[in-house]
Every structure is written in structure tokens, then in C-alpha cells.
Symmetry: C2
Subunit: 327 residues, 2 copies
């Protein structure tokens, strides 16, 4: 294993310190328990707290700031944060209308966020995201996994919270966005967890893992690598089967890299996916392309589609000022 790190056990804490140094206009850090929160607090609205294992950067710490998350709680790599991190973050960012916790559906995260929610003597609730259509139940999950669609949920809820929505309005909106969002991914190489120091899975030089999870966990099946055209078709088919959208529907297309795939390939996938969605009768009106929900240095990509209406489009377009999403 070759990585640009010091001791693996110090990686998360020191990396968070580097993130906050680079964005000290927006972010502050609480060292113990560890969480990142936005500096410019705004009162009289619901607050949004997310988090999960590290190794998916920029998710979630890179999405803290006006118009998106109020705080993010990073666990160790691919390990859920602890309840005390989450509870402390919620207490810090509470803004008068409750705290909503946005959780990717993985067993560890669900447990730890629920414990934190139960600990807190304030209005709070948990919203589960489960956009991954690849598998029902998997290595770390009962039910579908939460993957790159989480960013879409967080962006739209962040816009609503910024405009004054309370906890319950945010939760209803988040559930609606989650229900009209579907994702599926493919991996070409494995990630390497620093503490483990060896690849999470073996994969041959001509193989790809279809439906891979964001921790390198197995998906649907292993097969020979395909062209980009065929790979996109393979990913879009179950996504569209899940969403069952009528012709002419406006959609957001999010092409997400898992960390090791260069932007030149992600933009190619974006062109192909846009054309294939048009061929399916859908109207892509919003796009997001980049390495957003990653699995350390894993090569591969996922495609997320969210069905839009006027309200969701306006929430997507609303201003956002975070380290990794800004407009």
C-alpha cells in the first residue's frame, strides 16, 4: 500500500484540520468529539447534520456551509461516527426549529445516529437515504444502501432549511427527494483502507464489479469490462426501472466518480448518459459531474438520476456555499 499519510489512526483528524484550514471562512472544527460545522449560523430554521465513515470525501464535510449542511460528523475510514460526535454537533447547530440527521442506509450509521437522536432532549429526527438500486440487503446493510444520491438530498434539504423550513418540513422533503432518486455504480479497481493496508477486494485486470457499494462491498455480479457506452446502459437500466418516469419528465443527472477515475472519463460518461436519457424520452435539465461520493482511490463511477419538478429544480438551483459545491 502506498499512500501519502502518516500514522493511519491520525489520518481523519489531521485531514479534517487541513480541510478547515483551507476553508476557515466557512467552517470551524470541534476537536473532541470531532465534527465540522458552519461558521455563519442562521437562526429560526431547521438544522441539518450528516456524517458517516470517512473515505467518501468530499461527502459529507465538503458540503457544510450556507445552503447545505450545518454540521458533519466524520468517523474513522469506513466506520460510523460515535453518538457523542453526532449529539454534540446537533447541540451546536440547533437553530430553533429542530435538527434533522441525514443518514446513508448502512447498519452502523443507522444505529449510531438513532442512539444520538434518542440521547438529545430536543426536536430531532433521522432521515434515511437508500438510493442505491443495485442490491436489496448487502454486506453492511438491511435494505438498499445510501450512496451518491445523498448529496442531492442534502442539497435540496439545505436549500429548504436555509429558507426557514423546520425539521418536519425538511424531513418530508428529504423523503420525497429520496423516493425520486436512484443510483447505481461500477468499480474497476479496489480501494485500500489505510488501517488494513491491503485491497478491500480482488478484481482481475479485465474485470469490473457491477453494482459495487461505496466501501468496495460486492454488488450484483462481476463481468468483463465493457465500453463506456455499454457501461452507462448497464447502469441506467435498473435506475430507470426503479424510477418509472413518464416521457418528457425533467431529471437531474449526477455522474459521480469513486475517487480514482479522472474527470476526462466522468465527462465522457456524462455525455453518454445524457444522450441515453434523451433516447429514453427524458429531459435532462440539471447536471453534476465529479468525484463527490468517493471510496478513497477506487476507480469507477456511479450514475444518479433524480426526477425534478419546479420545486425541486428551484431547490437545486438555490445558492450554496460549501467547500465542494458552490454556486
Amino acid at each position: 500500500m502506498k499512500k501519502l499519510i502518516n500514522a493511519p489512526q491520525d489520518l481523519v483528524r489531521d485531514s479534517i484540520a487541513g480541510l478547515v484550514l483551507a476553508h476557515q471562512d466557512l467552517l470551524a472544527v470541534n476537536d473532541a468529539p470531532l465534527y465540522v460545522y458552519r461558521k455563519q449560523a442562521k437562526q429560526n430554521r431547521g438544522a441539518l447534520v450528516s456524517g458517516g465513515g470517512s473515505g467518501h470525501e468530499p461527502l459529507h464535510t465538503g458540503y457544510v456551509g450556507p445552503g447545505m449542511l450545518d454540521a458533519a460528523c466524520p468517523g474513522q475510514v469506513f466506520t460510523a461516527p460515535t453518538p457523542d460526535q453526532i449529539a454534540a454537533a446537533a447541540q451546536r447547530v440547533h437553530a430553533g426549529k429542530g435538527v434533522l440527521m441525514i443518514v446513508k442506509n448502512f447498519g452502523g450509521d443507522c444505529a449510531t445516529f438513532q442512539v444520538a437522536s434518542d440521547m438529545l432532549e430536543m426536536d430531532c429526527a433521522v432521515l434515511l437515504v437508500n438510493d442505491d438500486v443495485a442490491v436489496e440487503n448487502s454486506t453492511h446493510t438491511t435494505g438498499r444502501r445510501g450512496v451518491a444520491g445523498t448529496l442531492v438530498v442534502e442539497k435540496m434539504m439545505g436549500a429548504a432549511a436555509e429558507a426557514g423550513a423546520d425539521l418536519y418540513e425538511c424531513k418530508a422533503l428529504g423523503a420525497r427527494v429520496n423516493a425520486c432518486t436512484a443510483s447505481m455504480g461500477v468499480a474497476l479497481t479496489s480501494c485500500v483502507v489505510p488501517e488494513a493496508a491491503y485491497p478491500t477486494f480482488d478484481i482481475g485486470p479485465g474485470e469490473m464489479e457491477v453494482g459495487v457499494g461505496i466501501h468496495g462491498e460486492p454488488g450484483r455480479y462481476r463481468r468483463a469490462v465493457m465500453s463506456a457506452d455499454d457501461t452507462v446502459a448497464l447502469l441506467l437500466e435498473p435506475v430507470l426501472n426503479d424510477l418509472k418516469l413518464s416521457a418528457g419528465r425533467h431529471v437531474l443527472l449526477h455522474v459521480n466518480g469513486f475517487g480514482g477515475t479522472p474527470l476526462i472519463e466522468l465527462h465522457l460518461l456524462n455525455k453518454i448518459a445524457t444522450h441515453q436519457l434523451h433516447a429514453h424520452g427524458l429531459n435532462v435539465t440539471r447536471w453534476l459531474v465529479g468525484n463527490h461520493t468517493t471510496s478513497l482511490e477506487m476507480a469507477g463511477a456511479s450514475i444518479t438520476v433524480t426526477a425534478l419538478d419546479d420545486e425541486l429544480t428551484a431547490l437545486w438551483d438555490a445558492p450554496v456555499t460549501t467547500p465542494s459545491l458552490r454556486w
Copy 2:
């Protein structure tokens, strides 16, 4: 070689189409000859055109937009664009006060941009960037290479051009920024050029290439991998020797990933570099961390330091609206 592509010869054209689809509010594309240009033209100012081989995304196409470049001309992967691309782009974006071409110092790029400049019957000039302190002369270069510091030069000149600076004012400013900017990088793995389909260089499982170029070309030497602390010290020493800054000087620190190194590691390097620069008596006041000047999927990172004064700080802080740099 595993990549998410179709035929290698179509990659650049189709990837550019995907980029422009995702950013059609900002960018337009000219298909033949191929270049990307900003949609909202602003008159009565110098215009900035850059370009070079593809495979370094988001450089340069991701930096086209208000406050930065007017156009970017992508060549094939690691291959200079042709003079007709550059000349056509310059003619399209000319805004009344001349066109400045920003060129990373590589032999092919220097030749092709100079030919384009000679072809054009308008006020135009070439600015060479040569921030890489690793080697004097190398595989593709006479003199020092132009690497991640190019982004800093482009950002500051873009702010000046947006404010109305003409070609000659932009060129003088660019030369000044280039002179106070120095970079050095290290690679842990090789990139794979799609057309070649095999790694550009061999590197052992415990080795790193110190002073690597952004095409995977050799740097200073090969050695055993080190801790992140020691790697940062190894990169900063020649950078600071080159810049010879007096104590208390304000600097911009740009930690750049080469494509295959995850953000969690880049933020760690940022923390370490910030602390080491402070220990050298320097005052880091601006930061940029991310995969900005890449070498396809190569793992590794570079560190760039730019000495700041009030004027350069203001130019850095000026608004910028491009796909990959926006504030």
C-alpha cells in the same frame, strides 16, 4: 488497462461535449477546430486563451468563465493542440484589447502557440509558465516545466482581464505571478495514456518518483516512500529555496492532486504544509486544495507556493465563475 471509455481517439471530443453539457450556462464549444469558450463575452479588455494536451482536467477547460479564461484549446491526451484551434479560439474571444496565450512550458505547446500567434493579424502574445522547480530541462522541455502554478497565473490574470486590463498589462502581471510561484510534485503510481494502453513508467510497490512531471516524465530521483510529513518537507525545501522569501511574507498554498490521490490525503498534506510553512516563518493566508492539474489517474501530489502582496491577494479573491473554480 481498464478505463471507462469508448474508442481512445474519440475520448477528448466526447469528454468536452460532456463538460459543456454540464455547464451550458457558462461554456460553449466549437467542434472543428475544437475549443471551449465562455458564453458571456465582455468587451474592451484583454482576452485570455490557454490550452495544452488533455489528461490534466480540470486544467484548462474547467477554468473557462467570467474571472478566468476566455477560451481553452484541448489537444489529444498529453499532446499539444494545433495552431488552427488556438487561432480560431483567439479570433472568437478577442475583446478589443488583444489576446494573451498562457502556455505551460513544454516544447510542443510552445511551438504550436507561437505558430498560432504568428498566424493572427491581431495584438497577441504568449506568456510561458515555468513554475516546476524539480528539473532544468526534461523529457519534453527546455528549461523548467509549467505545472500546477499555471492555475494561479490564470486566476490572477483572469481577474485583471475581467477588470479591463489589456494584453500587455495581463502579460506583465502573469510574468510577475510566474516569477513568485514555485511547485514540486511526487508520484506514487503511473498514469496510463488511453492510446498507449500501458503505464507511462514502471514504479515499484514501495517507491515514489520525486519531482515527477505532469505527464509521468521523470523527475529528480526515485526513492522509498516516506511519511506524509517527510514528503511535504522534501517538496517544500526546493520550492522555498527557489522563492527565497523573507520572514512574515504572506503566501498562497496550493496542494494539487495528480488525479488518483483522494481528497482525504490532499487535506492531510495541506495541514502539514501549512504548519511547515509557518515553521519557516511564512504566513499562509490563502489555500487551494484539490485535484486541479492532473495526470489522468496518476497517484501523487504537488505543492505550489505563490508569494502574495495586496494586489495579488485581491486578484486571487476576485469573483470567479468556472466549472472547477468558483467563488
